[in-house]
Amino acid sequence: MIADILTVMWKEWKEFLTRRGRTRGTILTLLVLLAPFSIFFPLQMGRDWVESPVAIGFALWMPLFLVPGVVADSFAGERERHTLETLLASRLSDRAILFGKTGAAVIYGWGLTLAATLLALITVNISSRGGELLLYPPAIGLGIAVSSLLTAWLAAGIGVLVSLRASSVRQAQQSMSIAMMLLLFVPVFGVQALPDEWRAHVAAILTAVNVTMAVLGAAVLVVMLDVGLLAGAMMRFRRARLILG
């Protein structure tokens, strides 16, 4: 099973790296994301970038922009290019195909986020010129690694579900964009839309709660969402439906 998942991931990566017309778009996307995250903000904040939890916030947010573009292609792209039938007619199990495609997108989003975090650290070290080597404290480093993994998984889970249903890559990308917008803006505007009394109540709860417990709670919630999405994708994955769709 693991070998089969790795085989699917190998193919996804090969395809992603060799996709025509993709290179320029990918470089542009990376520059747009890396410039603020790995250069601008670290330069502005200096040592605070490393020592405060702000980097965790960025690591949480970055996969939501990186993963959708890759994952939208997973099933919709294969369907559009007429390669899905042959893949489904092979000996690969449903889970190997599903987990392989999800895993490839997660590792892409997570890997790039970690690389960007490392680049930000280099930027801070070069700009601070303090002589000492600045490193993320273990808690911050762990927070970056775990939070970016969880959000990459979340975006990949949503993307696979969308891609399974979509008839074309374009449709999948559009649906993914809407899903990501909702994910990012509903909490922000939702809180704004609450009556003042309710907002004060939420603020009181947030200030009263232990930060570590809140982070752990949020992580558990995201893990549950991730598992739920994967379970949904497994239920949705039906060879007959994909062949006829």
Binding site: A3, L88, A240
Partner: protein, 312 residues
């Protein structure tokens, strides 16, 4: 059940799509080691049959056993032991030919050394080895079909399913794919289930043929048996001086089933394959000036058209 000599056993296989019955009580056996042609016009149910045999669709009724495995309950086993070239070649166009085969070699768990050797063997056999690093998207449709055929055979399956492998190819490319298929199938001893509406293809490749129309099997047998159903062997005689008496003499011969004039040609239908010299001697003796004698038998295309007419 399938035996060592039966690759596919199909019994009363039926599949509905809503109110449309795509396959209607199909029953047939495909012996191991042959190229079986599944003929039918577009929309006859060929691709549906193939998807059912691969366990990609579930039958509405009936069942099929492929290489000893039930397609409904053991579809994974079926797919592990078969290869497929479906309606579309399924080639990843961004990847090189070598990477396409590398991927499926990994899928079928060929060890690395064996995988490399097998890829080289198949691509060399098909004359594609020199261009293995090209991205497959740059190849002609014929080359892609050859690559897809190589992919289907890569893991040395006991049975391969081919869905109209030469459809949309020019004559030259179709001949090349057909030649590769015939030589590889013979060399590897693989059973081939080939769907096609190309009668020439079926005639050249298939040892046994099933004809399907509107989801129902209308004929099954080897090409000669089907030809016999559409009409036996015949002789065409071109010449002058065919009179009613001569025709009557011919019709009186025990080997002659019928004799009639068609556009200055005399067509003699025979009951069985027989030596035609006595018949020609009879004609010459009766004063007919014989310019040309042609022996013939019904082509599979004629058989197919006859079957389609009968079904109407």
């Amino acid at each position: 059940m399938t035996t060592n000599h039966t690759a596919i056993h199909i019994e009363n296989l039926t599949r509905d799509f809503g109110k449309v019955r795509a396959l209607d009580g199909l029953s047939l056996d495909v012996p191991a080691g042959i190229i079986f042609g599944f003929l039918g016009p577009n929309g006859a149910g060929k691709t549906t049959t193939l998807n059912l045999l691969l366990g990609l669709l579930e039958p509405t009724a009936g069942h099929a056993v492929v290489l000893g495995f039930d397609t409904r309950t053991q579809a994974d086993e079926v797919r592990a032991r078969t290869g497929a070239l479906l309606e579309h070649s399924g080639i990843y166009e961004q990847l090189s030919a070598e990477d396409n085969l590398e991927f499926y070699g990994r899928v079928y768990r060929l060890p690395p050394a064996e995988r490399r050797a097998r890829i080289q063997e198949l691509l060399t056999h098909m004359g594609l080895w020199e261009r293995r690093k090209d991205s497959a998207g740059k190849w002609s449709k014929g080359m892609k079909q050859k690559l897809a055929l190589a992919r289907a055979l890569l893991h040395r399956p006991a049975l391969i399913f081919l869905d109209e492998p030469t459809a949309g190819l020019d004559v030259q490319a179709a001949v090349a794919v057909r030649d590769d298929l015939a030589s590889l199938a013979a060399r590897e001893g693989v059973t081939v289930f080939l769907t096609t509406h190309n009668m020439t293809e079926a005639e050249k490749l298939c040892g046994r043929v099933g004809v399907i129309r509107q989801g129902r099997l209308v004929a099954l047998g080897n090409p000669d048996e089907l030809r016999a159903r559409a009409g036996g062997p015949h002789v065409e005689v071109v010449g002058r001086g065919f009179t009613a008496e001569v025709l009557a003499q011919l019709r009186a011969q025990p080997v002659v089933a019928a004799a009639e004039m068609k556009n200055e040609h005399l067509t003699i239908d025979l009951h069985t394959e027989t030596d035609t010299a006595p018949l020609v001697g009879l004609l010459v003796g009766a004063g007919v000036q014989v310019a040309e004698v042609r022996r013939g038998k019904a082509s599979l295309e004629e058989v197919f058209l006859t079957l389609m007419e009968e079904e109407k």
